[in-house]
């Protein structure tokens, strides 16, 4: 047939509706409502891509991931992952994907890390040589050597997370879904994890689909962002494009020595004044340097800081403009 294998993940007009029953005052029976958790969702991901899948809470991210992995059956549209229909061929698909949750562990809490990995080796029928090689590599890269014999329940969050990532990768999955992988981790651990994921993608061509609220995860890892809101895609493209389209702004927080009238410098607008502290916003694609220089030359400044735009704000902006 065709030599082009097509996209690794192919989602077309995907929909998932839930029936929700709610009580209405004055009625004895509960009223049935249809909630469209996901609708008209179309996107595809090629092998080797690193894609950020973002959106506010309740936007439909988890619902999409559940349908991509086959644990939730779509009520409309089509999903194909690696040529398989996830919900019909869930078990076959499971051998080819990896899943990592920031807030849940796939490890067995009462077992030492090593035993969890051994169990996974049997579960995924990983050839022993390949298993040893992978384990050695991940243990080294993720610095897990000292924890291998510790029961999972005694690991720190960062150690547990690294254990979970190893667990998800031992069987060489083609795709790995990461749900808030850096949540609760300190800055150093976050950095190390991102570096590891980037290396994984480059060395093995593993496709990454990442849901996160941490813009820096996306910035460090993803060339492409899909934004979902109210169950459907509202943006699909580069991160820079997202900022431009969302019209997002950065904030310069200025602590003056004395209280003053709102600061007036070109290129920035005062958003808020509280005593000697003022908040100035400026477009996120503009440089902060001339604004900082202008403020510093005209006022007695005690301190300055810059706040990056919150991904939620960008998305909210995007959505309110699109609607």
């Amino acid at each position: 047939m065709s030599s082009d294998p097509g996209p690794l993940i192919d989602v077309r007009d995907l929909a998932r509706t839930f029936d929700v029953r709610r009580r209405v005052e004055g009625k004895r029976r509960r009223v049935r409502d249809e909630v469209h958790a996901v609708h008209d969702l179309t996107f595809s991901v090629a092998a080797g891509e690193m894609v950020g899948y973002i959106g506010p809470n309740g936007a439909g991210k988890s619902t999409t991931i559940k349908m991509l992995t086959g644990i939730l059956v779509p009520t409309g549209g089509q999903v194909r992952v690696g040529g398989l229909d996830p919900s019909r061929e869930r078990v076959q698909l499971a051998r080819r994907i990896g899943v990592v949750f920031g807030q849940r562990s796939t490890l067995w809490w009462d077992l030492p890390l090593r035993d969890s990995f051994d169990l996974l080796q049997k579960m995924y029928r990983i050839p022993p040589a390949r298993y040893r090689e992978n384990l050695a590599r991940f243990v080294e890269l993720l610095d897990l050597g000292a924890q291998l014999d510790t029961p999972v329940r005694q690991l720190s969050l960062g150690q547990r997370m690294r254990g979970d990532i190893t667990a998800a990768l031992l069987h060489d999955p083609e795709v790995i879904y990461l749900d808030e992988p850096t949540i609760g981790l300190d800055v150093v651990s976050k950095g190390r994890l991102r570096e590891f994921l980037r290396a994984l993608n480059q060395e093995r061509g593993t496709t990454l689909l990442l849901t996160t609220h941490d813009l820096q995860d996306i910035e460090a890892l993803c060339d492409r962002v899909i934004v979902i809101d109210h169950g459907t895609s509202v943006y699909d493209g580069s991160l820079a494009g997202l900022h431009a389209q969302g019209g997002s702004s950065r904030t310069l927080v200025v602590d003056l020595v004395d209280e003053a009238a709102p600061i007036d410098v070109p290129g920035a607008q005062v958003r808020n004044v509280e005593g000697p502290r003022q908040w100035l916003s400026f477009p996120s694609d503009a440089s902060a340097a001339p604004i900082v220089a202008a403020v510093a030359s005209a006022y007695d400044v005690a301190d300055l800081s810059i706040q990056e735009p919150d991904i939620e704000d960008v998305i909210r902006e995007l959505y309110s403009r699109g609607a």
Partner: protein
């Protein structure tokens, strides 16, 4: 191989609760003594009740106490883990794995049952032999058949407990159904009174229900009440329920993952 590893792991997990195990053996033995004297009083009045003699009756009591935890008569066992994982949404993780859920939990429950048999099973049986001179298996053949019957009893009980735990997919919590199912189990398994004492249609009915596989069938095999094709028929009865109920587990699971939302994101 995987399922053996799973069973071994659960066996080890249960074996960490040593004090609870000892307390459990003690409790089983106390109930064994109480029931023994109650049954002896009964068989003193009617020495051939249900076709048992007094020694059969007392043996039946101690077998029941030994089987109580092994078959997890009250419910629970590893299926409680399942219900809890459904409630918290961790079940999603089990579903991401390339293994069937029923086989996984069955392996785990067999590991648990093996541990309970070695401790909560052998403990009271030993006390029954020493204190009440209970009967040993009728023949080596019956001993082997009893072992097979015991495994089948655990499988039938597992399947019923799995179905009960699966109600958590719809009800979020299995506890109400579990209590109800436990009540049926204690009555229809023959744990409270041997089913051979049940009169008329109640006897016919209770001997046809799956709970008879729990205590009545293995105990009758131990006591040598089934011989020849009767023995095969008794084991066949258990196999029938094991197959039907395991198929039901698969069906319910398919329904649950199709119709029901896995909790949490």
């Amino acid at each position: 191989m995987l399922h053996v590893a799973v069973a071994t792991r659960t066996f080890r997990r249960y074996s960490t609760y040593r004090a609870a195990t000892l307390a459990g053996i003690f409790t089983n033995s106390v109930f064994g003594v109480i029931y023994s004297y109650a049954y002896l009083a009964l068989w003193n009045e009617n020495p051939t009740a249900g076709g048992y003699d007094a020694q059969d009756a007392v043996t039946y009591v101690w077998l029941g106490q030994a089987l109580l935890m092994t078959i997890a008569l009250w419910g629970g066992g590893t299926t409680d883990d399942l219900a809890e994982r459904v409630r918290t949404g961790d079940i999603a993780i089990d579903l991401y794995r390339p293994v069937g859920l029923v086989g996984w939990y069955l392996a785990s429950d067999l590991g648990r049952a093996a541990y309970h048999l070695l401790t909560r099973g052998f403990g009271p049986t030993l006390i029954g032999i020493v204190v009440f001179d209970i009967a040993l298996p009728a023949s080596p053949l019956h001993a082997v058949a009893f072992a097979v019957s015991l495994v089948l009893a655990v499988i039938v009980s597992f399947a019923i407990r799995f179905l009960v735990a699966s109600t958590a997919f719809w009800l979020l919590d299995q506890s109400g159904v579990k209590v109800m199912s436990g009540a049926f189990a204690i009555f229809f398994s023959g744990m409270m009174l041997p089913l051979v004492l049940f009169p008329g249609w109640l006897g016919t009915l209770s001997n046809a229900l799956p709970w008879a596989s729990y205590v009545q069938v293995p105990a009758d095999i131990w006591l040598g009440k089934h011989v020849g094709t009767g023995l095969l028929a008794a084991l066949g009865f258990q196999v029938f329920w094991a197959v039907v109920l395991l198929a039901a587990c698969q069906g319910v699971l398919r329904l649950a993952t199709r119709k029901v939302v896995v909790q949490g994101g």
